[in-house]
Subunit: 238 residues, 2 copies
């Protein structure tokens, strides 16, 4: 053991590492929560995984719910930030909504346990105004802006309610995703996403035709563009 630092480590019972504790506990919490679900996870289990005492967890987090909420915020924030950047790279309402749908369903497919935390156990007591509420709003606002711009540009019917349209989209996505999360059914993300979006678009597009509105080639191009974005991203992250 040539390192004097490491030699020292073995002597002490614990070390002061104020700014490392919080992210470590957060990471441990996410792992344990994903493994067992909230109901079957005790704060003691999280503390053990993080290598600290239970009381230390309560030094950094107000209570179990606060800890859970901050796990969700830590997970959702980069997700939303990436999407906010990506959405600008796609043109056309169909492609943009498809991108949102794909990202959402992919997220559910890749981290189903985190989504379970959202749906099973989200407590609404002090939700509104909380950081978790804010990041969720940022996500939902991405869709609302797309719809609003579509109405302004004349591409979408002027009398539709952007919030209702957002509700329809997320509602459909949640139902599709929950079948996968809870029933464990396999999920063809791109197929389900484009199916859902095209059906919704059919109801709000201004120029309605026999196939649900719009030039089908144009629509296809938009969706292909969002799929390419996703593919490039997957290739990059290897």
């Amino acid at each position: 053991m040539p390192s004097s630092k490491n030699a020292k480590t073995s002597k002490v019972a614990w070390r002061r590492r104020k700014d490392q504790r919080e992210p470590e506990i957060l990471a441990a919490a996410r792992v344990v929560l994903e493994e067992n679900g909230i109901a079957n996870t005790s704060v003691a289990m999280i503390a053990a995984r993080a290598g600290v005492s239970e009381a230390t967890v309560y030094k950094y987090f107000d209570n179990k719910q606060d800890l859970i909420n901050r796990v969700l915020v830590a997970w959702a924030t980069p997700f939303v930030e990436v999407l906010e950047r990506e959405i600008k790279l796609v043109k056309g309402i169909g492609g943009q909504l498809t991108l949102v749908a794909i990202r959402y369903l992919r997220g559910m497919q890749q981290t189903p346990r985190v989504h379970r935390l959202y749906y099973q156990e989200l407590k609404w007591e002090n939700y509104f105004g909380s950081p978790l509420h804010q990041i969720n709003r940022r996500f939902s606002n991405i869709v609302v802006s797309v719809i609003r711009k579509g109405i302004d540009s004349g591409e979408l019917k002027p009398d539709i309610d952007p919030l209702v349209t957002r509700d329809i989209l997320f509602g459909g996505l949640e139902h599709i995703g929950q079948r996968t999360i809870f029933a464990g059914r396999p999920l063809d993300v791109e197929r389900e996403a484009s199916k859902l979006v095209s059906q919704i678009l059919g109801g709000i597009r201004r120029t309605a035709g026999p196939d649900g509105g719009g030039d089908s080639i144009t629509r296809l191009n938009e969706i292909i563009s969002s799929l390419q974005l996703l593919r490039n991203d997957i290739l990059k992250n290897r």
Copy 2:
């Protein structure tokens, strides 16, 4: 006290009432759960409200979750049965879907606390195949059959997926309703319901026109018919 039965009652510490206990506990549970939410309701509180000991509750229900699920089933069953009968009295897809939407949102408006139980606290561990799952399926199947018949009759596009359409409808309804339940926003049921349904219909109707498809007079008549049904029902239940 002329009644010998009642005189006898005051002497004994408790009485054997095997078949009354379960519905009484169920009713007490619903009241207490609605008042406090699941997290703030103990089995002891429910037992006290029902006028029995805590152990008695566990004689009739496997555990707390079982009790909660059976409260939800007891609440949902008549709701679904009424809707199954009513849906036959309305003709036209628009009217039928509007009826479902109105009933759903009304339910959320009138018993928001029960809906909270659904969304906040539903445990998915042993959900699939459970009585609660089955009654939920019966409800969702009402919508699926309406869509299927619409496709068969040629009124709806042949290539739409009835399940996706159902997901869109319930998704929209849940989002609208949850704003009311949790944020406490007021809700214009008929307005929101018909708005949502007409927007969804626009995406799946075969004969698409500039206003979203279909004869607007026909659509209006359908919705009026479902509203009349609701009004009559309200008048009857006084």
